[in-house]
Point group: C2
Chain length 454, copies 2
Amino acid sequence: MKKYDVVIIGGGPAGIVTGMTIKKQFKEKSVLIIKEEADGLVPCGIPYIFNLLGKDADKNKMGHKPFIDLGGEVIISTAVKVDKTNKLVTVKTGEQFGYDKLVFATGSIPQIPDFIQGHNLQNVFYIKKSYSYIKELTLEISDLRNIVIIGGGFIGAEVAEQLAAANVNVSLIESEPTCFSKAFSPELSRIATDALRKTKVNVLTSTVVKEIAGFNNKVSHVIISDGTKIEAEAVILSIGYISNSQLAKETGLALNKYDDIHVDNYGRTTIKDISAVGDCAQTFGFLTGRSDIIKLASTATAEARILGHNIFGIRIKKSSAGTLGVFSTEINGLAMAAAGANERSAADVNIDLISAKFSAPDRHPGTLSGSSDLTVKLYASPADGSILGGETWGGKSVGEIINIISMAIQKSITVYELVSFQIGTHPLLTSSPVNNPIIRAAEEIIYKVLQIQK
Amino acid sequence: MKKYDVVIIGGGPAGIVTGMTIKKQFKEKSVLIIKEEADGLVPCGIPYIFNLLGKDADKNKMGHKPFIDLGGEVIISTAVKVDKTNKLVTVKTGEQFGYDKLVFATGSIPQIPDFIQGHNLQNVFYIKKSYSYIKELTLEISDLRNIVIIGGGFIGAEVAEQLAAANVNVSLIESEPTCFSKAFSPELSRIATDALRKTKVNVLTSTVVKEIAGFNNKVSHVIISDGTKIEAEAVILSIGYISNSQLAKETGLALNKYDDIHVDNYGRTTIKDISAVGDCAQTFGFLTGRSDIIKLASTATAEARILGHNIFGIRIKKSSAGTLGVFSTEINGLAMAAAGANERSAADVNIDLISAKFSAPDRHPGTLSGSSDLTVKLYASPADGSILGGETWGGKSVGEIINIISMAIQKSITVYELVSFQIGTHPLLTSSPVNNPIIRAAEEIIYKVLQIQK
């Protein structure tokens, strides 16, 4: 039986980054990753397999080669048992591996809506983060003309957009009045839903699925709340993900109310020498410190870096206990992103905020070709002016502008400081220095605050 | 004689933003801008007039309408005298305007190399930030086939690239071994110079101009150090800008050794109720606090915002005394940017630093069309790990990535904090969360520091 300094169960972004960080920073330590499939997928790239990447799952592979290159070892199997007393992991074949430190990076699995009649019919699919499953799915649906997607979050909407672009008749069913409503403010949710409506996707909001109906045990149509039947040769369910924490539970690790593995700021579980990281691990809301559900590859890799540096003892302080949800997407050519609080999420937890937005072309002069309108909306504390959240939409630069805002939130930067924020600008790359939307939105908030104080 | 709460001399970005900020935050205050020409230009957009904007200076106009819309007033004239005792400004026509607060935003003017023989020949031009001058220049050179540009900084190189793209035979002469060497590190200077060499521009580095030669008092060729004659129907001199501070000097304001107007952190000069802002005002190096020369529209507008909020009394603290130079450009489709220190600039002022870089595709998976390679190089203090500078090059997202780095420098964020920096990522918009180049470069620095400590 081989013994490793670290055994990691799971080879998604959280597991791979944990492994890479350890092998990079502690060359001499032996690290084994146990992963179920030889090939992994870039999680957020999955929707693009269905069109942009030419229906070829191989173009969205995420392998473990960078980890191997650093001296890590990988075994393709499924961990079935952890003996925490003797520090052993048993895999499906019966083989055992000893560990000094064990990491659960078991990820998340699609939520199965057993409350929907017909959810277990043939041709009802999920967006599983599994190479073999998605490869099979692309083949299964390749000749189909009518597909219904249930759930208008990012994955559901992006898959809908991609399938529609590949000339499939797609209906997207969302129970809320807008899609994207868990991550975006009411305003940006509307903008994003409108963008989706401009594609060929048939977007049905405020719509509840009554039944997935079938013929010969195979999906034939979806019946919605008002009785309408929508023809469907396949249904893709995308209503969320839950922690894959069964093995952790069997091992005796404490789980929280969402079945996420309980961890401290450094990924340490309730059992010594066992950590958890990524989608299977608990997160805490950035502003409230309350248990939250944020399952993103970006937050998973941030946790993995912290864990990787600190697994043999805390050397690098985590700069914030909370997990900041930062979300980006692009629908019909409109890039959109959000970080932290908005009016709705703040009201949910009774946080006071003040907001303002500013729009300007993302090139200057705006007459330059390729210029598009860029908007930044900031949310700040009316008391001290610190940035609590932000949203931005427009051209592709949105993808990095949200990270400026994200840094401002994480460092408690205030609107007052943003007045003297020094930026780089260039005609072909950014808005003009006169009209930088982050700074101008901050100034609008200052204006509002000073008017209130009068 | 009309009296204003604020009179601003100069209508470039610094003057306009000062005026707009005051009118936005203090509606009831009267503000007059005295500007020389009715139409202004977006300063950094000037190179693009020569090709991308169709040789049409009108497409690069920067007007004062946003200031007028806020209730500001503008007079088109030249200020010729300031009576600081009676608080009066006299313009060319003899008209006088009273002020409570006066702002010098007189900008900068091209440096004239009187040491170069022939610099005053006909068809020797400069890149003046003047609408009428540039409009005239585009007409004057519109039929010319051979143009020599002297000075390989941003403006010179960008104008060279644009003219070459418009099928002019352009030679660019730079005395240093690379172009862009004042703003970029030796490495990025080389990359940028190589990018320029891939265009049709004839780039002559380590080359000194011996003489601008003429025939009938008009430019005919440029003679360089080795005696080579380069045919030139026109020469464009772009060797830098100096403060337009003559009137300030006559008014009795103290100037520094560069002839920039001496100011404190809030733009206040040595005379009560007179401020200066933008290119004509002194700047202090961000890391050293020493007098520096940074003349950028972006830093000018940052100063203008601080001045505008604080002109009637300090209400919003400036978050840093120093001016951070943040530079961006795009040459031959390669976007490049730099902020703060690099090996060369740090060595000049004896600042110790450690650097590392990381490259990854700026989309994920990298197989997505439109993906290009993105590099981030970070410079940090080996003592506390705080970010002192950064560079980035690749696709257009570079324009905002440098602003993430810029914020990190301004907030003294350390490489250790960047390990837990939470970012937003999306396949179509950013690098993968596994390979965010800022975070990975920070980790490389941590690795180096920990290796040194061993």
